[in-house]
């Protein structure tokens, strides 16, 4: 069981089998495992939800009988409170799209139960045997809760969608808009042929040349490893996979579980009318480290997601149309800075300074 949890099988978006070759390096069996594993966790969570509600009702309605059954002092008030807690957990699990948190709260409740039962396990208790039996049961339930919570937490938001085996194809836009986190969307027209624009973006290792918050991208087939600078200059990393890649049309990606950022997005390319070049539309969502709070902090430091993506796309246009990212005396800083030339040492420190030459 442990090895199943730890393995990170490679997967291909099941939505797009008809496009391009599936990655031959992918572990087919592993993929199957993941799918059933996900389904498992979901089903367990649902079971635990109903179990909680059932147990909670029992604790509220028949506290005395329950106390007798498990060999502890009859304290109806305490039992009723615990009943309310159980029902709360149950409802939380059953009603949320992402029940991981609620299942973790069950684990916390289990710890509390175990502590309470444990305190009654001393030799003073004439019904020690019953209490011991109850403790074993709770330990068993705790194990199930833990397993379920861990399984659910490991999945990204998109992991859930994988479990919908027959869920049908989800469009790239769906994958962004149905997810959580900050969403940004922007568009730019670049006066270069669509092949050149697509080709430049497709080589992800190019992206740090104009995306100011990216430090590096390492590509390995359909997977890539991303390193970026988050709010307050902290470094974050994540793995991603290319979900769809339709040359000169669309590239979509999503992060894999286990990284520090949960993100997904797509870039669409289209011929602009006349000879204006290529229209590029980017839509993406991301859960910055720290979630929405992290994003608010980022805004305080002067960069909101929308600004960053707009700036990045403009920098992309700069590079393709003029050969490099165009800088002003103040744009080389991420924070506010007066419009005056930099000192030498400020220039050396500036992460944004990029006089790199061109694509061509």
């Amino acid at each position: 069981m442990a090895t199943q949890l730890e393995s990170r099988p490679e997967t291909v978006g099941f939505e797009n089998f008809e496009y391009g070759e599936p990655d031959r390096r992918q572990n087919e069996a592993g993929y199957q495992q993941t799918r059933s594993q996900d389904g498992n966790a979901e089903q367990l969570a649902r079971f635990l939800g109903w179990f909680s509600i059932g147990l909670g009702i029992a604790e509220i309605v028949a506290p005395t009988q329950l106390a007798e059954m498990i060999g502890v002092e009859n304290k109806p008030g305490v039992f009723r409170l615990m009943g309310i807690r159980e029902i709360g957990s149950g409802i939380a699990i059953l009603s949320q799209e992402q029940p991981a948190g609620a299942v973790w709260s069950r684990v916390a409740g289990d710890m509390l139960d175990l502590a309470l039962l444990g305190s009654q396990l001393d030799s003073d208790n004439p019904e020690r045997q019953k209490t011991l039996a109850a403790t074993m049961s709770v330990l068993g339930v705790t194990a199930v809760d833990l397993y379920t919570a861990k399984s659910l937490s490991q999945q990204s938001n998109w992991g859930r969608s994988r479990s919908r085996v027959n869920g049908g194809r989800r469009s790239p836009r769906d994958m962004v808009e149905s997810g959580s986190g900050i969403k940004v969307k922007t568009a730019v027209t670049i006066g270069r042929p669509i092949g050149e624009v697509y080709g430049f973006w497709r080589n992800f290792e190019n992206l740090p040349r104009f995306m100011s918050h990216l430090l590096s991208v390492e590509v390995d087939g359909r997977r890539s490893h991303w390193t970026a600078v988050g709010p307050a200059n902290m470094q974050v990393e994540w793995d991603a996979e290319t979900v769809e890649d339709r040359p000169e049309e669309l590239i979509s990606w999503r992060s894999l579980p286990g990284g520090q950022v949960d993100t997904a997005g797509y870039v669409r390319f289209r011929q602009a009318p006349g000879n204006r070049g290529t229209e590029v539309v980017v839509e993406m969502r991301y859960d910055p480290p720290g979630g929405v709070v992290g994003a608010s902090i980022a805004k305080l430091f002067g960069e909101s997601g929308q600004e960053v993506v707009t700036r990045d796309l403009q920098a992309f246009k700069n590079v393709l149309e003029t050969g490099e990212v165009v800088h002003s005396d103040s744009s080389i800083y991420t924070r506010a800075h007066p419009a005056r030339p930099p000192e030498e040492k400020e220039l050396e420190k500036s992460r944004l300074m990029n006089t790199e030459g061109a694509v061509r």
């Binding site: 805004k299 149309e321 005396d329």
Partner: protein, 391 residues
């Protein structure tokens, strides 16, 4: 180096700042020999423009000698070349530049997202004109970094003084574009609101373009006198003495001028616009402009005529006579000047002797006297029309 920096409302100070550096491969560094204070600088001085930061270097009308060139400049510009630098920064490669719309270049404003919030789209970067236009250091300094130096700067031929060509950087092309937008035909009567430096050039340009009568409107007699004696205005109106609309009716036999030029902009006398600045959200305008001059141009213009707006506006206007515009079938033409496309033709006019732009200069100061220059220019003291600074 020393540079004139914005330090708050009605506060500028010449400070010691780092020398400019090459940041992009097509940059050049120019040692500035002459620079000027623009009427639009007063909007910054009086804190009408949001996104200013203390320490921003001001100034967008400058010229000088190239002292350093970036590696991407392939011999088009060399160290030692004497150049005038246009105030909008243009890349030359984008859709807008290709169409000759240099002041809306798509590549030179790194703060595009900020401009987009206010205007819907970004426009070109501008030297020394707030972070809304990119946060570029300005030219009221000893040196300046000039991006895309193979696109903007105009080489100055021998035999012309700084004062004769400095205004090719902004106000002469701006006034000229204002007049050009009027589409002047023989017999046309042109009315120009604002007899400041830009208004003076609009009047002079209207004359060069063949206007029959040019009416200058202002409240300072010394400026109206310059318009009449130097710029070529045929008539003047001091709006503090007489009602402009009535006077124009009378002067045009009831028709109204064929075209009206607004060379006044958002600081029209008597208006109190305020902007509040919010860095993380869209800049909010608390109180709208009161475009007194603009309104008058619309009401005065003859039906089917043209209103040419070269005065700078930044935000939202109130009580705009859209009904008059629509029903009289007026054409409004406007924009920040696309300086690059006028520099060469206007240089030729200067060389031919059609015009000597230095006629607008009334004060010549050292760079260190910049704060004084701003004061007298802002308060129209000492018969100030145009202040030129020497670093």
């Amino acid at each position: 180096m020393r540079a004139n920096c914005w330090e708050g409302k009605k506060k500028v100070r010449v400070e010691q700042v780092p020398d400019p550096k090459i940041l992009n491969s097509r940059d050049a560094i120019v040692r500035i020999t002459s620079t000027a204070i623009c009427g639009s600088d007063l909007h910054l001085f009086n804190a009408f423009v949001p996104t200013m930061e203390k320490g921003d270097i001001l100034g967008h009308e400058f010229m000088g000698e190239v002292v350093e060139t970036g590696p991407g400049l392939k011999g088009n510009l060399k160290v030692g070349d004497r150049v005038v630098v246009p105030f909008p920064i243009a890349c030359g490669s984008c859709f807008s530049c290709q169409k000759g719309l240099f002041s809306v270049c798509e590549n030179t404003n790194p703060n595009a997202w900020l401009a987009e919030k206010m205007f819907g789209h970004a426009t070109a970067g501008i030297f020394g004109y707030s972070h809304l236009t990119g946060g570029y250091a300005g030219g009221q300094a000893e040196f300046a970094r000039v991006p895309f130096a193979d696109v903007g700067p105009l080489k100055v031929p021998e035999g012309l003084t700084d004062e004769q060509v400095l205004f090719l950087s902004d106000i002469f092309p701006t006034g000229y574009m204002g007049a050009e937008m009027c589409d002047i035909q023989g017999g046309d009567v042109i009315a120009v609101w604002g007899a400041g430096p830009v208004g003076q050039f609009a009047i002079a340009s209207a004359k060069m373009l063949g206007a029959e009568r040019i009416i200058a409107i202002d409240r300072f007699d010394y400026r109206l006198r310059m318009a009449r004696e130097k710029a070529g205005a045929t008539d003047t109106i001091n709006y503090e003495d007489i009602n402009v609309l009535e006077a124009l009716k009378e002067m045009t036999g009831g028709r109204g001028p064929d075209a009206c030029i607004d060379a006044v902009g958002l600081e029209a006398h008597g208006h109190t616009a305020m902007y509040a600045y919010d860095r993380a959200k869209q800049a909010m305008m608390l109180e709208s402009d009161r475009p007194i001059a603009l309104r008058e141009t619309i009401l005065a213009c003859r039906p089917g005529g043209i209103v040419s707006v070269i005065g700078v506006y930044g935000g939202l206007v109130d009580k705009f006579p859209m009904g008059a515009v629509m029903n009289k079938g007026l054409t409004i033409k406007t924009g920040q000047c696309h300086v690059h496309r006028y520099m060469r033709p206007l240089l030729e006019r200067i060389q031919r002797g059609d015009i000597d732009p230095s006629f607008v200069i009334t004060h010549r100061l050292q760079l260190d006297e910049a704060p004084h220059g701003y004061d007298i220019f802002n308060n129209k003291e000492d018969e100030c029309v145009k202040v030129v600074l020497k670093p």
